[in-house]
Amino acid sequence: MNFADMGPLIQTALELGLFSALTVLALYLSYTMLNVCDLSTDGCFTMGATVGAVVAISGHPYLSIFAAMAAGMLSGLVVAFLQTKMGVESLLAGIIVNTAWYSVNIAIMGNSSLLNMNKTDTIFSILKEKLEGTFLASSYKLIIAFVAVALVVTFLSFFLKTRLGLAIRATGNNPDMVKSSSINPAFTTIVGLCIANAFTALSGCLLAQSQKSVNIDIGSGMVTVALASLLIGGAIMSKGGITRRAIGAVIGAFLFRLVYTIALRFNMPAYMLKLVSSVIVIIAISGPYLKKQFPLLQRRMNLRKLNREGR
């Protein structure tokens, strides 16, 4: 690999990183703030992609973005409803919805598991046309991804400081305290999951439209990839305010993709992505736990040694 390769490599990583950063920001809201591990992320991501594709194919490139986000909100509403009003465990609710959406997504695509957008007008093809001949011609994907991420980060850093945003954060922190503030934690959970899933769906929609195709597996494993990015971001910016940590999540998404893209160049097979992301999540979550266990382990070793010597 030479340095001339690095430019396009970084650009690809940046594009893919920014697209998935939208999902990472969704988890930043649901996992970090609301303390709900929303396993419907995969299905919701795919739903955003399928709805976005179908609406775009029917000739509404701009509407497709909002339609995808609305579908995501609906998906979030279903998950939140199951866990707050129907007594379904939060993890289980996500898994069930995820499974259900597999059928729904195929139905949305008209009984097909693959849709092609080669000849479809999307915001990407429109922007590409507009930028033709300028020096930005090759960065149209990057521009859209960057604008979307910037909008979501701005929204989150504003929203999480409003009274509703505070209530959502408190729900993840101490639901008892939310109740004693006369706010229904079921309500804040529903709102939080609806907003988070709108971003997840947006993420799926933009990825599908940028690669001009959607298949039913587009979102599979997304929750782990996003979680890995989120935890990497958290390791970089563990301290600081809401905005700083949101930006950290975006950087985490980019770094994850960068490392992955470089690994691909070093002939790591593409199918390793999910194994790698799972290992990252395991290390990030169990690392602090093992670190805490370490003194105990050390003590056990020492005692064993002492006992042996004593005998």
């Binding site: 409003t162 009274r163 109740k179 706010i183």
Partner: protein, 263 residues
């Protein structure tokens, strides 16, 4: 103001672990009443508080607060009129959020999308200054950095920032060191007097049970077995109280902390 009529609650009904935690309890609390609640371990004191606050819905009976039937009202709606403090200072506040964010949520002013205003911040600052704990300069620090006493004082502030009709204090000073407990108790007395709140306070300190407030009730096995106020209460000593318990329940008071006289 608070009227409880014939409420009962059995936990784990129909199993070997069935426990009648509240047994046909009736109680009327008048405006401005400050009632101390005492009783043995497992007598149903906290369960009674949980029933009033709405942690669970009672099996039978009715509860009225300010002439509104709150028997079936969910906990978060009752919280508009009922302020509550627990023994555990961590329960009342969100540790990961700053002092001012906690206070903002408790104050609940403005629309859902409103942010903390300058005026509100100043108001919080004045309230915190009154606690005399130097917290007015730490409003942007996370709640988790505060000591137990400080957190409990802020919780009290949060519970009374919109004066409730009724304040439930469940041994709210028991987990604090003596100095902090005194301080929090003093703040409690001040706020109860200033806002003329009706207040129920569980305590294991027999002395303060008789000194504080204007009325004392004693619980045993899910029932209220003694309800004293006025002159009778004024002339009562701790020994009298223990004697009355023995007479009424047929056994000695087995609250270990009470017997040891631990603060």
């Amino acid at each position: 103001m608070l009227k409880i009529s014939n409420i009962s609650k059995t936990f784990n009904p129909g199993t070997v672990n069935a426990k009648l935690a509240i047994d046909n309890v009736s109680l009327e609390v008048k405006d401005g009443d400050f009632i101390t609640v005492i009783g043995a371990n497992g007598a149903g004191k906290s369960t009674l508080f949980n029933a009033i606050a709405g942690d669970f819905i009672t099996d039978s009976g009715q509860i009225f607060l300010d002439d509104t039937d709150i028997t079936l009202m969910p906990e978060y709606l009752r919280a508009i009129k009922i302020g509550r403090l627990f023994q555990d200072p961590l329960r009342g506040t969100a540790a990961g959020m700053t002092i001012e964010e906690n206070l903002t949520l408790a104050a609940g002013r403005g629309g859902w999308l409103s942010r903390i205003s300058h005026a509100q911040r100043e108001e919080f600052k004045d309230m915190l200054r009154e606690l005399g704990m130097g917290l007015e300069d730490r409003m942007k620090q996370p709640m988790g950095l505060l000591s137990g006493g400080q957190r409990q004082a802020v919780t009290l502030l949060m519970a009374t920032i919109n004066p409730p009709s009724l304040l439930l204090l469940d041994e709210h000073t028991a987990a604090l060191d003596p100095a902090a407990a005194d301080k929090v108790l003093k703040i409690t007395k001040d706020v109860v007097e200033r806002e003329k709140l009706a207040c129920l306070m569980i305590t294991h300190n027999m002395q303060s049970a008789l000194q504080l407030g204007n009325r004392t009730i004693m619980m045993n096995k899910g029932k209220i077995i003694l309800d004293v106020s006025g002159e009778e209460r004024a002339n009562m000593t701790v020994a009298d109280l223990l004697q009355r318990f023995k007479e009424l329940s047929g056994e000695a008071l087995d609250n270990d902390r009470m017997l040891l006289g631990v603060e």
